[in-house]
Symmetry: C2
Subunit: 297 residues, 2 copies
């Protein structure tokens, strides 16, 4: 029953306006949408009341959100970046992916995945000849019960040694996918490829999110990682990173996404040592062995 | 002192991530910005936890905000429209403008004001020859102590009889300002002009905000009104509307902006009656007399 009507509806104040908005959502056909709109209204209003938000501050917020929207393109998602940097992405990720202790943990998706990455055979080189230390990855896709999973679809993406994903190049086109690929696990559950060792890098700072980090005296760095997204029938989709042991930003990831179970041991080898593909490297290189534990549906 | 460090920082869950984000804002130089970012983080996180927001719902939200940003142009402010329709604008307006009971109340600014409207002399016709019932406005700008205020700067803007502001015409340019003007009050505190009687109209529904209203089964209508913004030295800036007594949407304004003290009596006159400018009208017309009470600074 509507409580806000007549002269009250014609004189809403900062307190009863909340009830008025909630009543306006009363006829929302989708019950879940109604729950979300009601809660969003309550919490947003409570925020504005608690800080006694001024009209000038409100307008700064409007301009910030507008600039954030204008920064979004097909290859740049500034709202995801905003969500990531205020911990909302990790919050939703954590509460949405409760898994067995043996399962590899989920972390944030990030804004740089691209559909339809090149499908490559095991052993491929995804480095695009970019500068960086060669790194040979041997990923085993297994169930939490330690059984190999063949034919899992595994998307890989990562930044280069200068901290940029391919899509961040202003001249990037879908024909120029580098440091990203889609693999299929073999009978042992293995996915193997050659890449470059990932480096810590700043999230893009040339937009409103960068301005927010600067204004709040926060660094924009993410600890080095390779992204993995694994699809296997009968198992929960897994979206995660494998971080680099020893990275200086593991405790202060700008997007709060580190999982200690997802820190990999990237082992350094001297030049001249044999590489996993049976050759000899003329430069130092790294190997990463990591076993993923997939959660049954 | 940081509570979130080491292995905790590497395994943030949906609960302690909030504290981690707040700690990250600890070195914000501007104390007010720090208060705002902390409160925004807490309330936004609490919203996401309360509804147990899923990854799919989060992504719908990202897409909604992105589309809202993309809809914003120099003459369209979809984020203000969003704020208006969820009552946030009225909340901020109400808590930011506490005034004496005799003072005219503030209401929402709305997205359609334009800087540098044409400066016109009292008595001018701002209708741009648009269709609609002629309406003669006689606004008196006074202090709350009932003293006339001369030389007040008064911006006027309103929609036409079809519910559109001039800037909503896709072919609009700043050279084509209609149904908007800037007046200066005379020695009696008076601002007079000829316009058309405002009509109830829908807020723009061709964007994400319109989609939200549709999905929640809400009407997009605003009760008819003329916007006034009054600047006078020594008084608080006044931004308000004068609504139309009897309008069917006064109790359900899509943006929650009605103030019962700002409902005007638009008096109908038959054709042939003398108009305030000393002529005789060949069609029925309206007159509006309204006295504004300005709050001293």
């Amino acid at each position: 029953m509507a409580l806000i009507k007549g002269s009250v509806a014609r004189n809403l104040n900062e307190n009863n306006v909340t009830q008025a908005v909630i009543e306006r959502f009363a006829n929302t056909p989708d019950a879940r949408l109604k729950v979300i709109m009601n809660a969003l209204t309550r919490h947003l209003h409570e925020f504005a009341r608690e800080v006694n938000l001024t009209e000038e501050e409100w307008y700064e917020g409007i301009k910030f959100l507008t600039a954030t929207g204008h920064k979004c393109t097909d290859t740049r998602q500034e709202f995801i970046l905003l969500s990531d940097t205020i911990g909302l992405s990790q919050l939703v990720c954590a509460q949405s992916n409760k898994r067995d202790q043996e399962a590899t943990e989920q972390t944030v998706f990030g804004p740089f995945h691209i559909e339809n990455a090149p499908k490559l055979a095991n052993g491929a080189d995804i480095s695009g000849k970019r500068k960086g230390d060669p790194c040979y990855v041997n990923a085993l896709i297994k169930s939490v019960a330690d059984k190999p999973i063949a034919n899992a679809q595994v998307d890989i993406w990562q930044a280069d040694a200068e901290g940029f994903y391919d899509v961040q190049d202003p001249n990037w086109t879908p024909a120029k996918m580098e440091l990203r690929a889609a693999f299929t696990s073999d009978a042992r559950g293995a996915v193997t490829f050659r890449t470059i060792k990932p480096c810590a890098y700043p999230i893009p700072t040339d937009g409103p999110v960068g301005a927010m980090l600067k204004a709040t005296n926060r660094h924009p760095m993410r600890p080095a990682h390779i992204h993995f997204m694994v699809h296997a029938p009968g198992f929960e989709k897994l979206i995660t990173h494998i971080f680099v042991e020893g990275d200086e930003y593991l405790d202060s990831d700008a997007v709060f996404g580190v999982r200690s179970s997802c820190i990999g041991n990237y082992v350094r080898h001297a030049e001249g040592e044999p590489t996993p593909d049976g050759k000899k490297s003329t430069v130092p290189f790294y190997t990463l062995d990591y076993t993923f534990g997939m959660q049954p549906v």
